[in-house]
Amino acid sequence: MLAFVLTLVLLLLVVIVLAYAERKVAAFMQDRLGPTEAGPYGSLQPALDVLKLLQKEDIVPAAADKALFKLAPILIFAAVFAGFAVIPFTPATVPAGIGIGVFYLLAIISLDVIGLLMAGWGSNNKYAMLGAMRSVAQIVSYEIPAGLAILSVVMICQSLDFQEISYQQGALMNQFPGMEYDMNWLFGIRELGINTTTIGGITTWNIFRAPILLVAFVIYFIASLAESNRAPFDIPEAESELVAGFHVEYSGFRFAVLFLAEYSMMVLVSLVAVVLFLGSWNTPLPNIGPVSLAYWTSGTVGEVSGILWGAFWLISKTFVLLFVQLQLRWTYPRLRVDQLMHLCWKVLTPVALGVVLIAGIWRLLMI
């Protein structure tokens, strides 16, 4: 219960910061100022936006399917929020450390799809319906390259547990129960004979200890943009053609929940990318001889220092990825539907299959 509340509060904070960052980053990239009035540099703007949404009238269209319309935002948010349960935030804290976390995460995200269909149908609006259909088609399609990219990580790490994968990517590896004698080699190739187990830092991140995962990371990142309906894959809510996609009819509190779910999805996919590819809560600084930067910037597992350092690294890496998402939104034009499907099925999926194959071979080099 405590984990639930903590995660929810943390998520709300991150989403509010993200909503502010989105407006500011968008403004700066377009040579504008962004919000300036509410609070210093407009920093209270997202909080006020939320307050405004909560005060607004909750409109349920007369022709809508009332039950489905009301249930959908809750289902969408619940599906996304359930995904956070398996994310390890620090070396010692993970809300629900289940052994098949990665698989669970992939499954729970697909629940989101049902909520989208529910919202689209319940609104009884052609734009909402079209938006929901597009959104679902897109998410279901892009789950495949994303799943294959994650699969290659799982093959390298030999685990479906997020926390175990996290420990493998740092100097604290041997402190995880069951991995006391495991070792990391430079680029994962044992033949090179360079042991990086105690060097840690960036040299043990997944994209570094098995460089093929860099390709997997790019594939996952592109697919995750599509899964969270972000530009340039935002055809489900293409303003110029569909008004707002599946959430056209929503207002007030329900819209706030949908908005929260959308931003939570962005945070979630970035968190997963960080945990699986970019070293999770591990520090990027390696130990160099007597200068043990990695240990100095990791704290002690289970103590306050370890929690703070872990959370700091995880959240800062996540925000770097989120910034890239925002930048992509203001850089690239929206893809057409056929281009979207072409990219998914004819480019990303075959490449991801190749990556899975190479990752399997790479794993053989690692032992």
Binding site: L68, G99, I100, Y104, A107, S110, I114, V140
Partner: protein, 170 residues
């Protein structure tokens, strides 16, 4: 106890699925049934099966079904409503089935079967998960069914794509 909550939820939503005339409601109540069954699988120490249930049924089959409903009914008239037929002997047959099955199950006194009493029920073992043993079994004992299943999936994929494609009229 958690199991009974899930069981009641599954039965109620299953019953609602059968009783409701709205196809969409039937689909969404099937969702609740599938989710509560996934919960029961977790309670039965089958975490991998539970997540697979979520992944395949909820993320795949149910989405397909909902798409099927939406594509095979006109949105703006009442065709998401469907009539019931065989309202007399349908419930009769299934009721008789239920009574027969229930009678058999209760009469069989399964709990006192000798091989069940001696069976070891520590499924999870030290790894706290069935993933490892399922993975090993997929690559050893059941590798032939596994490969055949992948072939079946491929055939189903091609077949479904072929059937659903609009063929140019000759």
């Amino acid at each position: 106890m958690l199991f009974y909550i899930f069981a009641i939820l599954a039965i109620l939503s299953g019953a609602f699925m059968v009783l409701t005339r709205n196809l969409l409601y039937a689909g969404f109540s099937l969702l609740v049934t599938l989710l509560s069954l996934a919960g029961i699988y977790v309670l039965l120490f089958a975490d991998f099966i539970a997540v697979t249930q979520l992944m395949v049924y909820v993320g795949g089959v149910l989405v397909l079904i909902l798409f099927g409903i939406m594509l095979s009914s006109r949105v703006h008239d009442k065709s998401v409503l469907s009539e019931n037929v065989n309202t007399v002997w349908g419930p009769l047959v299934s009721g008789l089935l239920l009574v027969g099955l229930g009678y058999t199950i209760l009469k069989a006194e399964i709990a006192s079967l000798p091989w069940l009493l001696t069976a070891d029920t520590d499924v999870l073992g030290p790894q706290k998960s069935t993933v490892q043993s399922i993975g090993i079994k997929l690559m050893t004992d059941v590798v032939v069914p596994f490969e055949v299943a992948s072939l079946l999936l491929l055939i189903a994929l091609i077949g479904a794509a072929y059937i659903a494609t609009d063929k140019p009229k000759v």
